[in-house]
Symmetry: none
Subunit: 212 residues, 4 copies
DNA sequence: GATGAATGAGGTTTCATTCAT
DNA sequence: TATGAATGAAACCTCATTCAT
C-alpha cells in the first residue's frame, strides 16, 4: 500500500478509536488493529501516540478555520452567517470522530466515565428541555425545537463558565454575565435588520475566504 | 480528625488535583499529599480512584440541579431566568475546581495536551470576537461584550455539534439546525414580553424546586 | 526491611546480575528477583536501570581510588608499591561482581557472545603462555608463573592498543611504543634500588592519602 | 556488485558502526546505511546481526594470531620480541574499528555509558601517570613516557584482576600475585641477556609461523 | 539481487491497589 | 487509623527479522 494512503488510513483509524475510547484508553495496538496493521506499523508513520492525536487536532483546526468565511457587510449578512454555521456543521458531519475528540464532554477519560458525564449532561438537557416546552405552551418561549434551545443554552453557559472558572469573578462581573446572557436569550445579538441588508451594492467588498 | 471531615478534605483535595492535572495525570498519592495524608489513607475513605471522581461529579450535579428553579409563569419570569443563570454561575464561582473537571475542554488528557486544545479554543474565540467587533462597528451586532458573545456562540455550537455528531445527520436536519441557530442569534428564544408576562394567572404552574 | 538495607541488597543483586548477564541482558525483573522482590520494587529505590549501573561504577571508582596510596619516597617504596597492588587486588577479591562489570572483556554483550570473546582471550593467553614456558626452558624468560606473565603482557598490550586505536599513529610513534613496551618487558620500569631507597630523608615528602 | 565485495563492504561498515555505537546500539539498518544498502540487503549476506559481529571477531583473531611469530632462540630474540609487539600493534593501527570492538572498555553499552566508563579509566590513568612522574623526579622510576607506563600497568592489572575475579582467591594466591606483579615492574621478565643471545646456534629451533 | 513495509516479541517504566506494621 | 513498601498488570516503544514486490 502506498505510504500516504496508509498514513491516512491510520489517521482515520486513530480518529475512530480516540473518539470511541478516549485518548488514554485508546491503545496504540487498537489503532493499528482498527487500520488492519500491527502495533509496530503505527510507529513507522508516527513518532508516538501523542503525535497522532496532535495531528488530528491540527487538521481539524485547519478544516474549521478554512470553512469559516469572514463577514462582509456589503453582502447578504444573514446568508453569510448561515453559511458559516452550515460550514462548521458540515465539518462535523463529515468527520464526527475527529470532532468528538475535541468537543466531547470529558474526552480523555475512559468509557465508563464518559457514560457518567454524558448522563450528567443528558440530565441537564432533559431538565431544561421540559422547562422550555412548558414555556412554549405558556407562550413564553418561541416556537421551535426546544431540545435544540436547551443544547444551545447549556453549551453557551458551559463555555462561559469555563471562562469564568479560570480566574476570580467579582460580583460585578458576575452580574454582567447574567445580564448579557439573559439579553442574548431574549434578543439574540445579531440585529434583525442584518437579515435584510440595505446598503447600496456598489459599496460592498468581495467575499473573501479566511486566511489560515 | 473526624471521619467525615477527613473525607471532605480528601474530596476537596481531589477536586483541586483533578482540575490541575486532569484525571489520568492525577496520582492517588498526589491527592493524598494535597490533603496531607499518605496514599494508603485515601483508600480508607474511598473504594478507588474512580469513585472519588464519581463522587465529585455527583455532588456537582446535585448542586447545580438544586440551584435551578423551575419557572413559574406567575412570577417575574425574567427575574427567574436571571436567577437561574446567576445560580448556576454561582456554583462555578464557588467551586471552580470541580467545575473544571466536568466542563473543561479535554479534561482527561495531560497538561501538554490540554494546552494544545485550549489554544484551539482560544484561536476560535479570538477569530469570532474580532468578527463580532467588526460587526458592531458596522451596526450589525448589538452593543455589548463581543468576547462574551463569542464564547456564547462557540459553546452553543459545540454542544449542538456534539449532539449532531452522535448520529447520522440528514441534509434536512442540517438545514433545520442552521436555521434554528441563526434564528436564536437574531432573536433569542425567550419572547421579549416574557419579562412582562400577560398570561392569565390561573394557567400558571406553581413554583417548585427541582427534584434531585 | 529498612530502606537502606533493601537498597544495598538491590545493589548487590544488580552487581551479581550485571556481572553474570551483562548490562543489556540483565532485565530489571532479574535484578528484582535476585534480591527477592518484584520488578516494581526496584523502581522504588532507583530512578531507572541505568542509574543502578551508574551507582555501581561510581562506588567501585571510589573504592579503588581510596585504596590507593600516593607514594612517599621517604618510606619503604617497594612496600608501598606492593601495598597498592595488594589494595587494588583486594577490592576485586572482595567484590568480584562489580569488578567484572568494569573490567570484563566485552562487558555489555550477551553471554553467548562473551563466551566467544573470552575464548579469544583464552586462546591468546594459551599461545603466549606456551611461548613463555619455552622461553623459560631456554633460560630466556625469568622463572615464575608463565601464565601470569602472559596475562600481564596481554593486559598491558590491550590497554596500550586501546589508547593507540583512538587516534592516528605515526610510524615514529609506533616504533616508540614498541621500544618502550620491550624495555619494560626486559627491565621493568621501577628502579631496582627502589626497594632500598637511599635518598636523604630531608628531601622526602610526607605520606598522604589519595584525595577523592 | 560482486557478491564478495559487497560482503566485505558490509563487514567494514559493520566494524565502523559497532566501534562507534557499540554492539547493542548499532542497528542493522545503520550497518546497511553505512554500506550504502538497505536493511534487507544485509540479510542476504549474513544470517543475523550476531553473525556479523562473530565474523569480525574471528577475523581479528586470525589476523592477530598470524601476525605473531613463535620465538626461535637461535635468532635475534630481542628482534623477534619487538617484531611481535610491532605486528600486533600493526593490526590495530590498520583496523582500529575492529580492534575497539574487542578491546574497548565496556564495548556493549550505549555511548553515554561508555563515556562514564572511559572517564573511570582516564581518571585511573591520570592518577597513576602523575604518581610515576613524581617517581621519575625522585629517581625511583626509569626515564620514559610515564603515560605509557601507566597504561601498561593498568592493563596488566586489569587482565590479572579479571583472571583473579573468576574464582576464589586464597590469601596465598593473592600474595603471589602481588609479588609477581611487583617483580615484573622492577625487573621485567625477559632476561636482559635475551637481547644479545649467546646460546650456540646448533641448539636453536627453526623459526616457524604460528598455526591458525 | 535489492528493497523497505510489516511484524510482534520483549523490555522498561508507571501507578492503582493491597496489606503488614 | 495511618502508613508506605511492595506488587504486577499494563502500556509504550524498539528493532531484529521476514517477505512480497
Amino acid at each position: 500500500m502506498a505510504k500516504l494512503d496508509r498514513r491516512q488510513e491510520l489517521l482515520a483509524a486513530a480518529s475512530r478509536v480516540f473518539a470511541t475510547r478516549g485518548y488514554h484508553d485508546a491503545k496504540v495496538e487498537d489503532i493499528g488493529a482498527a487500520a488492519g496493521v500491527a502495533k509496530g506499523t503505527v510507529y513507522l508513520y508516527f513518532r508516538d501516540k501523542r503525535s497522532i492525536m496532535s495531528e488530528l487536532v491540527d487538521s481539524l483546526f485547519v478544516r474549521i478555520s478554512s470553512a469559516i468565511v469572514r463577514f462582509d457587510t456589503e453582502g447578504d449578512v444573514a446568508g453569510q452567517a448561515k453559511h458559516n454555521i452550515r460550514a462548521v456543521l458540515g465539518v462535523v458531519v463529515d468527520d464526527p470522530d475527529s470532532m468528538r475528540i475535541l468537543f466531547d464532554h470529558a474526552s480523555g477519560v475512559d468509557p465508563a466515565f464518559r457514560a457518567k458525564i454524558d448522563s450528567f449532561y443528558a440530565g441537564l438537557r432533559q431538565l431544561l428541555t421540559e422547562s422550555l416546552e412548558d414555556g412554549q405552551r405558556e407562550g413564553l418561549v418561541r416556537e421551535g425545537d426546544a431540545r435544540l434551545y436547551a443544547s444551545f443554552t447549556i453549551g453557551a453557559m458551559r463555555e462561559i463558565l469555563i471562562e469564568a472558572g479560570r480566574g476570580p469573578v467579582s460580583s460585578r462581573m458576575r452580574e454582567e454575565i447574567v445580564e448579557a446572557l439573559f439579553r442574548v436569550l431574549v434578543h439574540g445579538y445579531l440585529r434583525s435588520e442584518v437579515s435584510a441588508p440595505t446598503t447600496p451594492p456598489e459599496t460592498r467588498a468581495k467575499l473573501r475566504p479566511r486566511k489560515a
